[in-house]
Amino acid sequence: MTASLPLPENDAGDHEFVAPPLPALSAADAAASAVAADHADSDTVSEPPASQEPDAPATPAPRPPRKRPARTSAARTTAARTTTPRTTTPRTTAKRTPAKPTAVPPPPPPPPTPASVAAARFDTDPAPDVEATAAPEVDAPAAPVPEKPAPKPRAPRKPRTRTRLVRPAEPEAEIVVEEPEVALAVVEEPEVEPEPIVVPEPEPEPEVEPEPEMEPEPGPQPEPEPEVEPEPEVEPEPEAEPAADADLVVDALPELEVDVDAAVPALRLRGVTKTFGQTRAVDAIDLAVPAGTFYGIVGPNGAGKTTTLSMIAGLLRADHGTIEVAGVDLAADPAGAKRLMGILPDRLRTFDRLTGRQLLHYYGVLRGLRSSVVESRTADLARAFDLSDALGRTVSDFSTGMTKKIMLAGAMIHSPRVLVLDEPFESVDPVSSSVILDILSAYVAHGGTVILSSHGMELVERVCSGVAVIVAGQVLAQGTVDEVRGELTLEQRFIELVGGVSDVEGLEWLHTFSD
């Protein structure tokens, strides 16, 4: 889906890069004039006009390609690897420009020419984007360093209290403005940050994140800028859908302007309740997981995470509420909804008298795949998960980690849209964990959704783009990771939400060894 399009040719048949005409107003001026205008909060993406000054004259259009922050570092790297063909839209590159450490300027006003018209005037696609995989839109000359802080400003999408995961989508406005320059200047942008810009990516999510990953230094810089969600992209979802072929500049614009409602979240829970006898294990939770995200569900033991995930997977019936998987109601069309999901449950057995190969074959055949397809995918999965020599052994001889890996492989074998994983990294060694993370990040980068529950807060903080904290059957916080954690680390915030650590007094007898 990200095949790079051929470079346009001019009449002579040359792949000549012809700069599009500049807009009447330079970016800086436009930005300055827009300061007094609306949206103070949409600054995250907009680059300060001042920083643009130097760029504008230097290169008419070399707006650094908008860097799309990959959701996770792994996603970023994979995006970098895989998005070379995608980083063609100058527009997307433009989005990244705002990586300025200084105050976040308000987005510039829309250009005089409508986006579609301006795009249509372009002669060529910014070929350079392709190679400039990570062409950070940040103006290399302008501020190589700012990359890091830039992401931060961008990252703040959190301030909004909405439960929807706000994708810090680049404000459409600034992108529109930058387009003219970007198209021309994109070539020059050196990849400052290795993260793949993945600019043209259809999935908006990755773009959102790039900021945080950008900085090599950890995010100690707090986002000073107010979280200004770029107003245009209120909901990240809309970008997801239309961003199918973000390679073309022409398409990029419209996709940004798609209204939010067109987005279908990968998973939506409304008022889901489950009662076991007297206890309410899950108490009217509402969740909305956008498509193409890495979503984590955290909570203390016995909070109802596994119950929730079992209900999502269709293994348990909810007493009240509705569950929709990619728009398909689980109660109305269970077969259709389950076809879209791949499940890795926790604490449930598997058919361990089969060999590894037979088990994967069983997973595939149950899902209706033909045996030849299953066999080839089994080989691929075994290679990816490093299980090739274990395929001939009975699953009951596997270690716990290998069992988890093979069950995860079985959950993926029918290439679902949504992966629902219950504690996928429990009892898995770090090497395998990183391999699994790479695979899942690539999966997310290509539009899949992963919903996992975990107890490892650093993992969730590092990997996930959205998180929900469930305590005692209720969702105490949900949103993007930065939203939820605010100023603290995720672990501290989690402990704070759950209720703090109990005092450790009263165990004096433990210190007197009774031997």
Binding site: A313, M341, F351, L366
Partner: protein, 518 residues
């Protein structure tokens, strides 16, 4: 070109004795055995010369039919490698007719066919001694030999076409079981007949039927010539040879113009039963159930206990003094009933692994049907062996249809009721990995057990009644019992599978809660 192929075949034959010492020794041992068998055939033929015409005819026809059947089935069952596979001649550019003829001719130079020719010579000597005309007998024997050769070639070609990718241990075992299922009753039947120097009437009818089938027509010609009913067997024999020859040429053409399915490689090696079943959810569940039934001690114990129970049950009856003929008829229906009852709680044996079926939204029909396959695969052969044995012990072969009908009814109704009970009312069983004799704590255990058992008996009451009538009153009820029993059994089975499927589709959550609580 034909000469080249003949030469090639001869070299292959000689080459079988070269190479690995142990293999050569085995070949030589086989040769010795075959020679001894041929000598025995000659002796038997000599002995048959002085016997009644009907007996000689019977023996010839039956032996000939068995030979033709064996030549056809051996490549399919035994997985023999075809030395003259038509596909190997594909690169030489010969026409398919030329290849077919050359291979057929070269097939003469092989141990089985040479043995067959020797047997044919013995048969010729036998019948000429009885007075049949020489040329006709030779012609008949030639027809018989050619029929066997064509049957073998066709068997090899079919094995190469259909079974190449699926040749696994499981398949060989399955085919061997099928052969046993066919052979054992027949052998039992023959052994139980009383000869007294004359051919039993039942056998005479069987021979008369075989004489006009492709299997035995060629071998029946000499005897039929002597008794005057020549035209039937002659026409059928000639027609068979022509038809088989045409089929063989067509198969050669197909083999020369198609290639093997690619990718059938090592990957299929480790799949076991999954290779044999179709790649549908039903097939997958059937394969997985087969693997579990044949490996899991919990199931194995169930499987073994049933025949033992069936036999043990007759002991009290023996003690009591029930006549032996009636006792002989008891084990088979008891086995059928318990085999049908065995799967009444099959779902609970999966324990929490059932989540895979529910998360994949497997259709209820696929799940129910797949779970029945292991029991069918084990029960049918055992019943097919037990029924003739029982009837042989009973003494009156006319009762065979009634016994078969009763067993079919009990078996199939049991399966149908079990399909419903395993989703409607499963109860806790020993967990995977536990000892099969370790019963878990149960609160509502045995209702399903009793209901299925009694229900199968009740639903089979008509078949049982007809069987009883056939036994005591009128033997003609035997056929009524057969068709009635099969009909009732199939109806209950289909109904049960359908209802069970509907219940399964709607109660995924309830079943998951059940398995998680056991």
């Amino acid at each position: 070109m034909v000469a080249h192929v003949l030469r090639l075949r001869f070299d292959l034959l000689v080459g079988a004795l070269r190479g690995d010492r142990r293999r050569a020794a085995r070949m030589i041992l086989g040769l010795v055995v075959v020679t001894a068998a041929v000598v025995g055939v000659f002796i038997a033929a000599a002995r048959l010369r002085g016997v009644d015409l009907a007996v000689a005819d019977t023996v010839t026809v039956i032996a000939g039919s068995a030979l033709v059947l064996g030549f056809f089935a051996a490549p399919l069952v035994g997985g023999l490698d075809d030395q003259l596979d038509p596909r190997r001649f594909a690169v030489f550019g010969m026409s398919s007719g030329a290849v077919a003829g050359a291979i057929l001719l070269a097939g003469v130079i092989s141990i089985p066919v040479l043995t067959l020719i020797a047997v044919g010579v013995a048969v010729t000597g036998l019948w000429t001694a009885h007075g049949a005309s020489g040329p006709l007998t030779v012609f008949a024997v030639v027809l018989g030999v050619v029929t066997c050769m064509l049957a073998a070639r066709i068997g090899l070609a079919l094995a190469g076409l259909v079974l190449r990718g699926r040749r696994t241990r499981e398949l060989s075992g399955l085919l061997l079981v099928a052969v046993l299922v066919i052979v054992v009753p027949v052998v039992v039947f023959f052994v139980s007949l009383e000869w007294d120097g004359a051919v039993p009437s039942a056998l005479r009818e069987a021979v008369a039927v075989l004489s006009v089938t492709p299997l035995g027509a060629a071998w029946a010609i000499p005897g039929a010539a002597l008794t005057g009913t020549l035209t039937g067997p002659l026409l059928v024999a000639i027609g068979t040879v022509l038809a088989l020859a045409a089929l063989w040429v067509w198969l050669v053409r197909v083999l020369l113009t198609t290639t093997e399915r690619p990718g059938v490689g090592r990957e299929r090696a480790g799949l076991g039963w999954f290779v044999l079943t179709p790649s549908t959810p039903t097939g997958g569940i059937a394969a997985r159930s087969l693997i579990y039934w044949l490996r899991d001690p919990r199931h194995l114990v169930n499987l073994v206990i049933v025949p033992v129970t069936a036999v043990v049950i007759v002991l009290p009856l023996l003690v009591v003094g029930v006549p032996f003929e009636y006792i002989a008829l008891v084990p088979a229906p008891v086995m059928a009933l318990f085999f049908g009852w065995l799967v009444h709680n099959d779902l609970a044996y999966d324990s929490t692994a059932l989540w895979m079926h529910i998360a994949a939204a497997v259709r209820g029909g696929a799940d129910r049907a797949g779970r029945l396959v292991p029991v069918l695969l084990v029960g049918l052969p055992l019943l097919a062996i037990a029924i003739p044995l029982s009837v042989a012990l009973h003494g009156r072969w006319a009762i065979l249809p009634a016994l078969a009908g009763v067993c079919a009814s009990l078996f199939l109704t049991g399966l149908g009721l079990s399909s419903v009970s395993s989703v409607l009312a499963p109860y806790a069983v020993s967990r995977p990995g536990d000892s099969p004799f370790q019963q878990p704590q149960r609160t509502n255990g045995g209702l399903a057990q009793g209901v299925v058992l009694i229900g199968a008996l009740v639903l089979s009451a008509p078949a049982l009644w007809w069987g009883w009538l056939a036994l005591t009153a009128d033997v003609s009820y035997a056929w009524v019992a057969l068709w009635g029993g099969i009909g009732i059994g199939l109806a209950v089975l289909l109904l049960g599978v359908g209802i069970g499927a509907a219940i399964f589709n709607r109660s995924g959550g309830r079943l998951m809660e059940f398995v998680e609580s056991t």
